[in-house]
């Protein structure tokens, strides 16, 4: 047994000899003394001899298990930090017990990744300065390098070839380099410094403002000795403190200002003017340099006050003054940003300027035909495919249910309308709009950062949710279904690396885009992020432009997004896979809420004959036209897709009657369009459809399609 009576040591409690050797070699290489215990009894014995600096404890042990042992130690009043290892991810209950009751510092899952392990445990390792360097501990021999090969064996890979040994030696060198950089900057210190830096940055603008005011006052009147003295004092302080906080450019500027002020004290009148102009120039340079570097640390300093979310944009198309008066409170209460337009062109312009989230159309002032072309034009704008519409009607512009559906009205409101009803409608439509937006989940224990990310990403058209209990990650993923996850590396008790591994273990989230937030932008930091399964990483402090760019580039590559929104290039409607998901979801919701869904299968009559007669391209033009038309009509929440020669439409919340009415309008409009055959003559097309209604014809999604096709083919 190693002699532990007279030195600092780390306890390693694990019954797996291979694992002990792997960990032990790494820690010894770092200069630590390690005592290996095979069971709880040996560990207790050693602890009684001398308190360890850190205990690394496995869960499954012969006899007493790891949790019971930690509990025993805590009962006896031992407070040393514990890193807990387990073969499986623990659930929230076990996490809370370990974290809150047993005061475990870090919870890790086996198998460990050696490089990550050291980075994660590094936080809790005793300081290197306190450890006497052991001779020979600095060099790693080849047989020690083989230790990581042993763990690879256990994972089922044969890693005993020459190149494997080479690789593992390389990895060891990397680990060593990483450990050194880790030791230079323990993450806890870096965190504290960053927090201090943020606070300091928030105070900086005021200090610089005061400096500028005093300098200007001193320049205005030579007799203002007070202002002059103040300016010297502030410049002097800024030089020392800004530099120490890492704002080198501000420090330099302040130092230069201080020197100029001091030479002004001693100069005769001939030099004075030159010195002042130099001083003012330096001040201006410093002010602008400060703006840039402060914004990098406290990004929401000027344009958007912290915590305030960018409002949603609602367009009201109406020339009814009563209506306009009813709308104003929405804006005043901060529900949304409202643009009131009196004409279609005006509304279209403001939609181009700022992407709308909801559009209200007052039908009392316009003909239905104009509404069709307006809706088509809005939906053709970038990112506006799924903007929901609300239709305002009065006694002169009554709409039938099917007409409203065909016009694309998600909501129909009869005028006069109360403020509360209007506000409720806006809220409903905003949440409907949200279902079409990409979703971002932020996992970070720092609330300020979460708020910052929300503030930056929501105006970019994303739905943002924050999670500060990382152990609940899987639950939240299932409920929120994000397209991108931003994951902090350093969180209490569990590291971002392990959270990422938990995510990757679930089949459903294998392809989810994960970005790490790390305070290390070094090569090692980057390497660790990718090793842990990240798609990309963002260095802290986070700059908003970079955040937006990185998240967007991940979204473009996101499979979940493609799955939800992949479109058929010919018609612009959804492809089969996203359609099946969307339709299943609509039916599921309808089954839960006992609401209606109708599904329609559309066929262009004799489309194959057309292809044979006029050529495939001509036939495809007809199909493309139907796709575009159905895209421009119906509501944002209706699902349209192409299945081979057929177009399918799913209409939630409407019965067969209303849908049929809308379909007749569609058939009529489609029939009016003439196609040329290529040899001078034109032809028209007729639409056939089969309709099925949930509850009436069947009670699930598969049944709906079946029933609709039966209806179509028997027609």
């Amino acid at each position: 047994m190693m002699d532990i009576e007279d030195r600092d040591w780390i306890l390693l409690l694990d019954d797996d000899a291979f694992f002990r050797k792997l960990i032990c070699d790494m820690l010894v290489a770092l200069g630590h003394s390690v005592f290996e215990a095979r069971n709880a009894q040996e560990a207790t014995h050693a602890v009684n001899v001398r308190k360890p600096e850190l205990a690394i404890v496995d869960y499954r042990l012969p006899g007493m298990d790891g949790i019971t042992w930690i509990g025993r130690m805590r009962d006896e009043g031992h407070q040393f930090p514990v890193v807990f290892l387990s073969g499986q991810f623990c659930d929230a209950q076990m996490f809370n017990k370990l974290r809150n009751l047993l005061k475990v510092s870090l919870i890790l899952q086996k198998p460990i990744v050696p490089e990550l392990f050291l980075e994660q445990v590094g936080l809790f390792l005793p300081s290197p300065s306190a450890i006497p360097k052991r001779p020979g501990a600095s060099g790693l021999s080849a047989d020690k390098a083989g230790a990581s090969g042993l763990s690879a064996d256990k994972a089922g890979t044969q890693a005993q070839t020459q190149s494997a040994a080479e690789r593992s030696r390389k990895a060891e060198t990397q680990v060593k380099e990483m450990m050194q950089s880790e030791l230079k900057h323990p993450p806890a210190v870096e965190r504290a410094l960053q927090a201090a830096r943020k606070e300091y940055a928030a105070e900086l603008p005021q200090a610089i403002k005061e400096l500028a005011q005093n300098i200007r006052a001193a320049k205005e009147s030579a007799s203002d000795k007070d202002a002059f003295g103040q300016a010297v004092h502030i410049a002097h302080k800024l030089h020392g403190s800004a530099g120490s906080y890492g704002f080198a450019n501000i420090s330099e500027g302040a130092g230069k200002i201080e020197n100029l002020l001091r030479s002004l004290e001693n100069q005769d009148n001939t030099m004075e003017e030159i010195l002042w102009s130099e001083l003012i120039r330096t001040l201006a340079d410093t002010e602008s340099a400060a703006k840039v570097s402060i914004r990098q640390v406290v990004p929401e300093s000027e344009d958007t006050p912290p915590g305030r979310m960018m409002p949603r944009h609602v367009i009201f198309l109406s020339n009814d003054n009563m209506m306009r008066a009813a709308v104003m409170p929405l804006m005043e209460e901060g529900v949304c940003d409202v643009t009131i337009s009196a004409s279609y062109d005006q509304a279209l312009n403001s939609a181009q300027e700022q992407r709308p989230d909801v559009i209200f159309i007052d039908l009392s002032a316009c003909s239905k035909g104009d509404v069709f072309s307006f809706v088509s034009r809005i939906r053709a704008l970038p990112d506006c495919q799924n903007v929901p519409f609300a239709l305002l009607t009065d006694s002169t512009s009554q709409l039938r249910d099917g007409e409203a559906l065909y016009l694309g009205g998600s909501v129909v409101i009869d005028k006069p309308v109360s403020g509360t009803a209007l506000s409720a409608a806006v809220q409903d439509l905003l949440s409907l709009r949200q279902t079409f937006m990409p979703r971002l989940l932020t996992v970070d224990d720092d609330d300020m950062l979460c708020t910052f990310i929300k503030t930056v990403m929501e105006p970019q058209g994303m739905v943002v949710k924050s999670l500060n209990e990382p152990i609940k990650i899987i639950e939240v993923l299932d409920a929120f279904a994000p397209d991108v996850v931003l994951l902090d590396v350093m969180m209490p008790a569990i590291s971002g690396y392990d959270v990422c591994r938990m995510i990757r273990q679930k089949e459903r989230w294998k392809e989810l885009k994960v970005l790490f937030l790390t305070s290390k932008s070094s090569t090692e930091g980057r390497a660790s992020a990718f090793r842990a399964g990240a798609d990309d990483f963002l260095a802290k402090p986070v700059v908003s432009e970079e955040l937006i760019a990185r998240v967007k580039s991940q979204l473009e590559r996101s499979l979940t997004m493609n799955e939800r929104f992949a479109r058929d290039p010919l018609t612009g409607v959804l492809q089969r896979a996203p359609f099946e998901k969307a339709a299943t979801k609509l039916v599921e919701i309808a089954r839960q809420n006992k609401t209606l869904v109708t599904l329609v299968l559309l066929e262009i009559e004799k489309i194959r004959d057309r292809a044979a007669q006029y050529g495939l391209t001509t036939a495809e033009r007809v199909i493309a036209h139907l796709g575009k038309l159905i895209q421009a009509r119906f509501r944002a929440e209706d699902v349209r897709a192409r299945l081979g020669d057929y177009i399918v439409l799913v209409v939630p919340g409407k019965d067969g009657e209303a849908t049929m009415e809308a379909l007749l309008l569609l058939a009529e409009e489609f029939h009016q369009t003439k196609f040329d055959t290529g040899d001078g003559s034109v032809f028209r097309n007729t639409l056939k459809f089969g309709l099925a209604q949930l509850w009436r014809d069947c009670d699930d999604a598969v049944g709906l399609i079946q029933a609709a096709s039966t209806a179509l083919f028997n027609n």
């Binding site: 300081s127 300065s129 306190a130 230079k184 900057h185 323990p186 806890a188 210190v189 504290a192 410094l193 201090a196 300091y200 105070e203 002097h236 302080k237 030089h239 020392g240 403190s241 800004a242 530099g243 120490s244 906080y245 890492g246 080198a248 420090s251 130092g255 201080e258």
Partner: protein, 136 residues
Amino acid sequence: MNRVLLVDDDRSIRRIAQITLSEVGHFEVIVATSGAEALKLALEQQPDLVLLDVMMPDMDGFATLIKLQKEPKTAAIPVIFMTASVSQDEQKHYRTLGVRGVILKPFDPMTLPDQIKQILDNEPGEEPVDGATIKS
């Protein structure tokens, strides 16, 4: 060596120095915001080192140093000055006053503890260490 008395009227400087002195350097840090408070704490707490800002209102670093030296119970405590850029001549002048070394402001908080250790490792009378470097 484990107890440091940090004297500075600038709250920002106290805060950042405190973080790394305790977390990186593993010093126990006592904080004073003025020369007068520094004298009182030095007497009571008997620190192993005084880290003393030079430019302070009321009693500045020089005055504080002289008083520390005059008081028998604090005369033996080594003092390091913290100050913004000064010439080599001035630094030499400081050392004739009995200062163990000078740390230049701005300093890199991460290496501050090392700078202190280096200064203290030098025998009194050796050239002072003035390696203040700023991380960019």
